[in-house]
């Protein structure tokens, strides 16, 4: 009804003949035909799913989110106390992961953008590998971590330096973080490359015109200018790595530990794994539920907030590219 009056008014007020223009006609058809309504409804459904999940977890978990909870250790069979060991383990884990993944990812991005000819078979193979790496299931990374890092590298180190005594040939934080580093490698590469694409060619040409070598140009011009992108990549990688459980289940995460990890070959507690353990292995899920909800909220805040931050920076970067 309201729409019909609006049409008449716009038609009568226009100086053109009272027949609607093609653009007007298509606009009204666009609003009234069933497909936009249906697809728009489906889009709203997707948004609703996100809101329902977030709302449920925030509402369920916010009550217990106290300082004591964040800094205490689990007690009473994980139905009371805090989650500090899990937070500590997660931070330690993603720190090690970041140290491993950033240099490798940034170097690969530099190669793809500044060293490789885009049609060279090697560059194409690197690209295919990166894309495929992003699609390898997390559990397969876990198996790989076990088969390669622990059974092959770790055992190798033990045999070479520790006379075969079990030191590195067992689940440990170093192996879990390296496994995660491989899993998040594509994230860092893609984000860094995207940032490098926004650097104006003039900068590079100016640098070359001053007689700088390629490496000088990369280290003095490219890297400083893509710092935001590298940061974004790091943030997204951390947010992804902190949320993955499958790759660390048998490469180093522990059910419960009375101490914090101090050495590279220690096991560790981790937030995501803690959530899994509490929700499936607890003898009394009802009693664990309040603590469980708050743990999920902490994990979500960590991963989700970081991810949102990364996405935000990325959108701003893209905006800069458009200008």
């Amino acid at each position: 009804m309201a729409e019909a009056t609006a049409t008449t008014r716009s038609v009568s007020s226009s100086p053109e003949p009272p027949r609607e223009t093609l653009a007007q006609r298509s606009r009204w058809k666009r609003l009234l035909s069933p497909l936009p309504i249906l697809t728009g409804f489906l889009a709203v459904c997707v948004i609703t799913m996100l809101v329902v999940i977030l709302w449920n977890i925030v509402a369920g978990g916010v009550g217990r989110l106290t300082w004591e909870f964040m800094t205490g250790a689990p007690t009473h069979g994980m139905t009371e106390g805090g989650i500090f060991p899990a937070i500590f383990g997660t931070v330690f884990l993603v720190l090690l992961m970041t140290i491993a993944v950033i240099p490798l990812g940034v170097a690969t991005a530099i190669y793809l953008r500044y060293y490789a000819r885009p049609d060279a078979w090697f560059a194409r193979a690197v690209r295919v590998a990166v894309n495929n790496l992003a699609g390898v299931p997390a559990i397969v990374f876990g198996l790989f971590g076990l088969g390669f890092f622990i059974q092959f590298v770790g055992r190798g180190i033990d045999n070479a330096f520790f006379g075969g005594a079990l030191t590195f040939g067992q689940p440990a934080i170093i192996w879990a973080s390296l496994t995660l580093a491989l899993l998040t490698l594509p994230v860092v590469i893609v984000a860094t490359e995207e940032a490098m694409r926004t650097i104006p060619n003039d900068y590079l040409e100016a640098s070359y015109a001053l007689g700088a070598t390629r490496w000088q140009t990369i280290s003095r011009v490219v890297l400083p200018n893509s710092l935001t992108g590298i940061l974004t990549g790091g943030i997204l990688a951390v947010s992804r790595g902190a949320g993955e459980v499958a790759p660390i289940m048998f490469t180093g995460a522990a059910y419960f530990l009375p101490y914090l990890p101090k050495k590279l070959n220690d096991q560790f507690m981790e937030l995501g794994y803690h959530v899994y353990v509490m929700s499936t292995q607890s003898p009394d899920v009802e009693a664990t539920l309040p603590v469980l909800y708050s743990t999920v909220l902490v994990l979500l805040l960590l991963t989700f907030a970081l991810n949102a931050l990364g996405v935000l920076i990325r959108y701003r970067l893209r905006g800069r590219q458009a200008v």
């Binding site: 948004i47 996100l50 170097a107 894309n131 390669f148 499958a246 929700s279 991963t303």
Partner: protein, 303 residues
Amino acid sequence: MKYVITSAAFAAIAVIVLIFVFIGREALPVFTSPEVHEEVTIAKMVTPLEWRASKPKTYVWQPVSEVPKYSLFPLVLGSLKATFVAILFATPFAVGAAMYSSEFAPRQAREIIKPVIEMLAGIPSVVLGFFALIVLAGWLKDTFDWKYRLNATTAGIALGIAVIPIIYTVAEEALRAVPRQYREAGQALGASPWQIARRVVLPAAAPGIMAAVALGFGRAIGETMIVLMASGNAATWTLPLTDSVRTMSATIAAEMAEVVNGSAHYHVLFFVGALLFVVTFLINLLGEMYVGRLKRRLTGSAG
């Protein structure tokens, strides 16, 4: 410096190769080792087994019973059932939202939808698993009065939420790759936007949307935490989608931690992992090649 950079780039290729080699290395004894063959052979994995004297032979996965049984079919069926539900659930929402944001949405709406999808992709799978286990399973069981609280459909729906982002992203890209000239040609012939979307854009982008669904399938079949937490983890050889299932990925996750290194069970789990890896790798490779070719064709014919 050039060599340092190039060798770093080589790492990505090396990792893929190493995954093949090292998972293959731990899976290989299933084919070759006589000790493993005392417990299980490939033939035993794919033929019906006797599990109780009075009952007919069937496919059973019971790796820690007196006579270990390693039928792969219940696990494969479990993975397929959960993935089937996930794709059935995710595709309408993901493709619909992609269509809305590429064809109809005003700019502001698009600027909400895209970040929301990226946020959805940022929810860790263990959190979705938790949500499915604690909240969704109860809702669904009460609504539909199912026999089992945790089953293929519950896990599949949560899995579907997890794969909406990837299907959306690839489908939206495919829709966007349809040249403007196609749409303008439709308009010039007097077609309504609905007709254009249905008769011009959708057919042109259909292969890309198929690829999006295939990539979603690849993601769903490898996803672990959600099915581990919400599928019930019973390796059943039955058809109903409301029965509990145990998927390939969840089997690895649940059993690898308790298995003796180097035992037959250990090698069989690696064999399951190798299967999973090969399947997802092929799907990703084909999907990616397909999307690439489609884009070149569409943009090529536009220029």
